[in-house]
């Protein structure tokens, strides 16, 4: 189920499959939670200005606990230890999901990089300049010249961190 949700969020499910899955998410509370969590993780990974998170359930939960504070604390230490253990487990799990997701995402968004890795070699300044010569020679005949005009030449001089390093 979790796999399916993640696949759908990547836009890789067919339309009918996605419809069926959305139906399940609407009905099944745990699937709905997974759906929300994945979106939260996605939001955090994209580093937006703010992250939307539904905290109403959390607040309600806390309120319940507040009400029972009237009773003397009996299981103080054990409860605390259990809480810490649980939250540690939860954060480990979240970390696991995040790492798993980034492992999933990286090769997808970076096919060039994945391709490069098989025959990667350190690129010297000279080699960089040489590849610019090929880019220039190619740009001269590219149809993008006609539409973008000189703007398409930006590709040949675009600033890359490799050049910065030298």
């Amino acid at each position: 189920m979790k796999n399916n949700i993640s696949t759908m969020m990547d836009g890789e499910l067919f339309e009918d499959e996605a419809d069926a899955l959305l139906d399940v998410i609407k009905r099944d509370a745990s699937a709905h939670r997974d759906w929300a969590t994945y979106h939260l993780i996605g939001d955090v990974l994209r580093q937006p200005e703010y992250v939307r998170k539904d905290i109403s359930a959390g607040v309600r939960e806390r309120m319940k606990n507040e009400a029972t504070v009237l009773a003397p604390r009996t299981r103080g230490l054990t409860q605390k230890v259990r809480n810490i253990a649980l939250s540690a487990a939860a954060s480990l799990m979240a970390l696991g999901v995040v790492t798993w997701m980034s492992v999933q995402i990286t090769p997808e968004t970076n096919p060039q990089l994945a391709l490069q890795q098989s025959n990667i070699r350190p690129v010297s300044m000279k080699a960089q300049a040489k590849s610019n010569d090929y880019l220039m020679a190619h740009q001269e005949f590219s149809p993008s010249n006609d539409m973008n005009g000189g703007a398409s030449y930006i590709r040949t001089v675009a600033y890359s961190p490799e050049e910065k390093a030298q």
Partner: protein, 320 residues
């Protein structure tokens, strides 16, 4: 029977409407190519590829006999490209260097009508509405390829002048490979023409006339062929050109499908230099080098990596 006729008529009208729509969208492309040369403008545009973003300033002016164009980077180290009188000058390492002479290229309009009709065969061209870019109204035209050997192109064309305001290259999964968009633009009117007059600071710049590029790029038949060029790409030119830092002239064969081009370079391996093999990319442009039988093959194109690799692996010598 009559109903059947009505149906047929309706179908005909619909198919004609579709054909006309395709034609109308092609006209937008022609207009954009025309306006790119014939419009005076100055503006700031952003270029985004991968996770990088660059801001540049562009000025395009028309003179009686030529076009003047200056592209300067606004962030990172200073980089500048000037196209004037059909020549390309590049400000690199604190000097202006002539990097290219566009002698091999015919005057505009360079988008030929048969190239445009080939576009219709290889892309589904559709009108996807209107939008605004840098405060100007734009018609949005989508070129979706019929195979996975080329990218999807989305163009925002100004409805008044035909100038291209924004262009996005998308992968088959709909991810942005690169995009460029004006954020600030002034079309026509009173533009600053001072850059047309060589300034004192420009005179100080050392102008290096490269020995290599002074030779004329001539049409030529090398005998090299690449069999796996995708359908719809036609051979535009074949030249033998000098390249900076190369001992022997390099054969360049250029193919285009009207929206993107693939260049194939073949040259003997220079023994005294370390030729880099493998794939590299800059935005939508991918470059692949490989040494085969003492020749260095290089394929460059605004096409997905798989196309570049496939083309390179199909290069062979056919004899003259």
């Amino acid at each position: 029977m009559r109903r059947w006729f009505v149906c047929c008529g309706l179908l005909l009208t619909i198919s004609q409407a579709y054909a006309l729509e395709g034609q109308a969208n092609l006209n937008w492309l022609k207009t954009a190519a025309f306006a790119g040369h014939q419009t005076e403008y100055t503006g700031i545009f952003v270029y985004q590829y991968g996770n990088r973003l660059e801001t540049s300033k562009i000025t395009h002016l028309i003179e009686a006999d030529s076009e003047y164009e200056k592209l300067e980077s606004l962030d990172g180290p200073k980089r500048e490209i000037v196209r004037h009188h059909g020549q390309v000058w590049c400000y690199l390492n604190h000097k202006m260097v002539q990097v290219d002479s566009q002698q091999g290229r015919g005057g505009f309009p360079s988008l030929l009508s048969d190239e445009l009709s080939a576009l219709n065969q290889n892309y589904i061209i559709s009108d996807v509405g209107q939008g605004t870019v840098a405060g100007y109204n734009a018609q949005i035209v989508l070129f979706k390829p019929k195979d996975d050997l080329r990218y999807t192109h989305k163009l925002w064309v100004n409805t008044d002048t035909g100038l291209l305001l924004k262009a996005t290259v998308l992968s088959e999964r709909g991810q942005v490979v690169e995009q460029y968009a004006f954020t600030q633009l002034k079309i026509g009117g009173d533009l600053d023409r001072s850059s047309l007059v060589p300034s004192k600071s420009a005179a100080k710049v050392q102008v290096e006339a490269p020995k290599a590029n002074s030779a004329r790029v001539a049409m030529y038949k090398s005998g090299w062929v690449a069999d796996a060029i995708p359908v719809g790409f036609t051979k535009m030119t074949e030249v033998q050109r000098p390249m900076p830092g190369k001992h022997a002239p390099v054969t360049q064969i250029v193919y285009s499908d009207g929206l993107s081009a693939i260049s194939v370079f073949i040259e003997p391996v220079d023994s005294d230099e370390d030729d880099v093999e493998g794939m590299s990319s800059r935005g939508a442009v991918h470059m692949y080098h490989k040494v085969v039988d003492k020749n260095l093959y290089t394929v460059v194109g605004e096409v997905p990596p798989r196309t570049v690799m496939r083309v390179l692996d199909s290069i062979r010598y056919n004899g003259k």
